[in-house]
Amino acid sequence: MTDEMSTRKINSFQKQKNKQEMQKMVVSFALMIFFTLVAFALVMLEVPSTYVIPIILLLAFVQVSFQFFYFMHLKDKGHEVPSQIIYGGVFITVMVALTFTVITWW
């Protein structure tokens, strides 16, 4: 409903900003693909798992951050409430994972 109205109001300042935004998106998208390739390469080159697992976890963490902050706009102004909700979800997920880990290995 609101798209149409907002497109009508777009001015040149907005256009400039949108362009920058788009550049950031494309860069982070390219990086994400690059990370995925790295992860695959590590496994295919049969690097020992002591190295592969932490590296993949790290890459995953960075990718998730890109996902949240760039694609899901958590960094933008006026997105406080959605960010809060997402952080809540992250908290719950981490806690559930932690509980599983503790229950399994303790």
Partner: protein, 617 residues
Amino acid sequence: MGMTSAQKRGFGATLWDWLTTVDHKKIGILYLAGGGFFFLLGGLEAVIIRIQLISPENNFISAGLYNEMITMHGTTMIFLAAMPILLGLMNFIMPLQIGARDVAFPFLNSLGFWLFLFGGVLLNLSWFTGAPDAGWTNYAPLSIQSPGHGVDFYIMGLQLSGAGTLMGGINFIVTIVLMRAPGMTYMRMPLFTWTTFVASILILFAFPALTVGLFLMMFDRMFGSAFFDAALGGNAVIWQHLFWIFGHPEVYILILPVFGVFSEVFPTFAKKRLFGYTAMVFATFLIAFLGFMVWAHHMFTVGLGPVANSIFAVATMAIAVPTGIKIFNWLFTLWGGSIKINSAMLWSLAFIPSFTIGGMTGVMLASAVADYQYHDSYFVIGHFHYVIVGGTVFGILAGLHYWWPKMFGKYLHEGLGQISFWTFFVGFHLTFFIQHFLGLMGMPRRYWVFLENQGLDTGNLISSIGAFFMSFGVIVFLINIIYTTIKGKKAPRDAWGSGRTLEWTISSPPVHYNYKQLPLVRGLDPLWIEKMEGNKKMTPAEPVDEIHMPNGSILPLIMTIGFTIASYGFIYQTGNKYWLIAVYAGMAIALISMLTRSLKDDHGHHISKEELERVGD
């Protein structure tokens, strides 16, 4: 389109209108009708269970059918009755309360409804070939070993309807974040909107756990994986974890929205503002937050060890605190108010003691040591029926009586309302109070028969008699609906004369664009504020101007039909690979509909200023 659509039309056109509607009010009514239908079905199953248990060693139904009956009763009531009816109320009322013209994603809203309906229908079609029989909790390895296709129907049916619910939840969150009327800050939102918001967040985070669990179960049963098969290195307890990580938040998804309903009903009929609004909002969040860290209280006897059990026991007991805060706030809202008692109020008043009893037995169960005695006995059945029936069902009925005039423009009949309340209320306590003691005397849950002369005979008889009282109450309520539809008294905008929130400022039932001009909200209880200043109407926040509304679409229904066909394919391809054709065909239908939706521009329609001015108000 527009206003003209309200004119008399043929049956075909009306049907088409309902099949393609994206109007949140119509979708709300569809949810209520669908949920109501499944409620009757689940009720019928309950009565059959109680007839089987009316006397010792009864042979009314066979053991196998009994297992199917309890499984379908639980699954139907939770997933297909209680939750959809709540989604119906939220769908209809919440956008009105925040002064919006529709939800944020009307198309998605309709898709969510159809997925729920077809998921439910799919699940129930299993009655013809053998229904699921591993309990509504569907624990592995029982569910993995259950022969036939019953459990497969459970998996696919819940997967479909669960996807629909998830969509509903996301839609409500976005709607509340983005579409509040000018001036409606978060802390001016009515409590029902708040609880809709928080329950939707719970849906967003809880349902994925169910989705994952169902997928793993699907792979195990249909594609030979072994996630839950200990013999092949799997672990059956993982299902229990995933199920309860979803399951406990689910019980709060069921209760929070009705907490919202009561928080609307009490101030309206006590003519007082809600006591402790801020504390209510805070308590709602606290309950939701704690609700995610208590799931293992359903698994005390699994053998997680004393440390895990203690942590989860303490966390569980902590939930009683914010819940208690709420109970006291409602009592203080009533305190000193000029109280008017009618059906909506009766259901709400009856909720307080009934639900409190359920909360108390909850705290008893939360004591891990004691739970070794209570677990899997009728005591647990007593507990959760006190919270779900005494809480959720009472709340739904309160909400229906309260908002019926808004939704349908007519008051439910007061006398009939009171008859159904009293019979149901008495029946409810007859049925479930005694079950606590049956449990303490050692009667296990989910058993097909009990033996004679073990002290269980009278208790079970009383319990079954109570079930008949409840059925009578439900039938009177149905008669009330029919009577009201034909001869009900017409309701004005502010149907109860003491409405406080925005939904009472527009006509009953509302026009399809809800608000001709969006209202300006100047505080909590905006209508009450205007009334106190002697204003007859809300102050508008905008001049009368063209209104933009979304177009209806048949695509959600077609998409859902595609997924349903594919689900059938998945279920039966285990026996015969030709069924894979159904999988591919169904998925193709769904994907093509999605593609159509993405590529075809649909800008909706406009209601012109002239047309709006012609309508008057």
